[in-house]
Symmetry: C2
Subunit: 218 residues, 2 copies
Amino acid sequence: MQRHFDEELQTLKVQLMRMSALAEAMIAEAVKALVERDEKVIATVYAREKEVNHLQVVIDEMCLTLIALHQPAAGDLRFILGAAKTNSDLERLADQAVNIVDKAKALLEEPPLRPFTIIPRMATLARTMVRDSLHAFVNRDPAQSRAVLLRDDELDQLKRDITVELSEFMRQDPASVSRALALILIARNLERVGDHATNIAENTIFVVEGRDVRHHGG
Amino acid sequence: MQRHFDEELQTLKVQLMRMSALAEAMIAEAVKALVERDEKVIATVYAREKEVNHLQVVIDEMCLTLIALHQPAAGDLRFILGAAKTNSDLERLADQAVNIVDKAKALLEEPPLRPFTIIPRMATLARTMVRDSLHAFVNRDPAQSRAVLLRDDELDQLKRDITVELSEFMRQDPASVSRALALILIARNLERVGDHATNIAENTIFVVEGRDVRHHGG
């Protein structure tokens, strides 16, 4: 029974890592569609979204099954509840890639506003945060989780920089308003990816360092 | 043991309703601070945020304790995992009220851009969605959950309306750019409140209508 449980827990981790890899790819592709003006890749993002939604249901069911069949000890129970929450965060950060391509589609119909520098940097940073937060979760590593939390400030700063820069564009040139606004909102989509990575990291710390559930209540 | 479990489950629901009431109040207060230019209420929102964060930890621990001590049957287990997710959504939608007052503080230092009509409507709609989604969750009512999902379209439409209107302001008057942008972002904060209510509603449908966990796996 214990061996069976360990195997299923391992499968749960593998599925979460698969979901995280998909979500990271979606973010990279969404920003590629925007920056390289590559419309073909937009369809890929929408296709992957379906896969992510399916995987979310599969992972939620795995969490329920693990608890129901194996009645895990406190530490593992805490981990499995954390996995269900991580699952939600991964699905929602993947949604941000969809939000980005929704806006990219409209932007590709107009001439580009300016060369992109900050948005690809934000995307790279956000993806690294996702990968590291997930890695920290499956390895129950609070130190790596805390490193993710620190990097969120950097992402916020980049968002502020691009907002200032694009606001100035809007003031100088009224014709740039809709494009500049779309780019500001895309920067916020990437900020939200970072927020979800932060949630996963905070959740990991709660899972690993939180009080033992059996020491109180009842 | 069963009576004890039922009582604890009831307490869990009461705590979730308390958290939801707090979050709703925060949204109302954040928009009041903005619309009525009432700085005093900003401090109230920040104070309530601390209360919400504390309640989130309490509710997560209650979920863990309920599962660990009572090993609930499949339907209740699904509900408790749903409660943990609902808990996260409530905390995050309360954060949107904080995001709104952060921007309101800057806006109150400048003359008002225009009379507010859409933002208070969005706030009322979003709060109703939160209340109804939570009500539907604690009563395991998928019909009421589906009604919440329908209202999200209305909220999205209001967000699009205000974005169009404020973009026009920015084009007409460069001096309005930073204030108009802040209001567009506040409308998006309210849209995100609605998104969290939608998540709670979808989660309720999964809890009530999802496949029985004991019929598969292992």
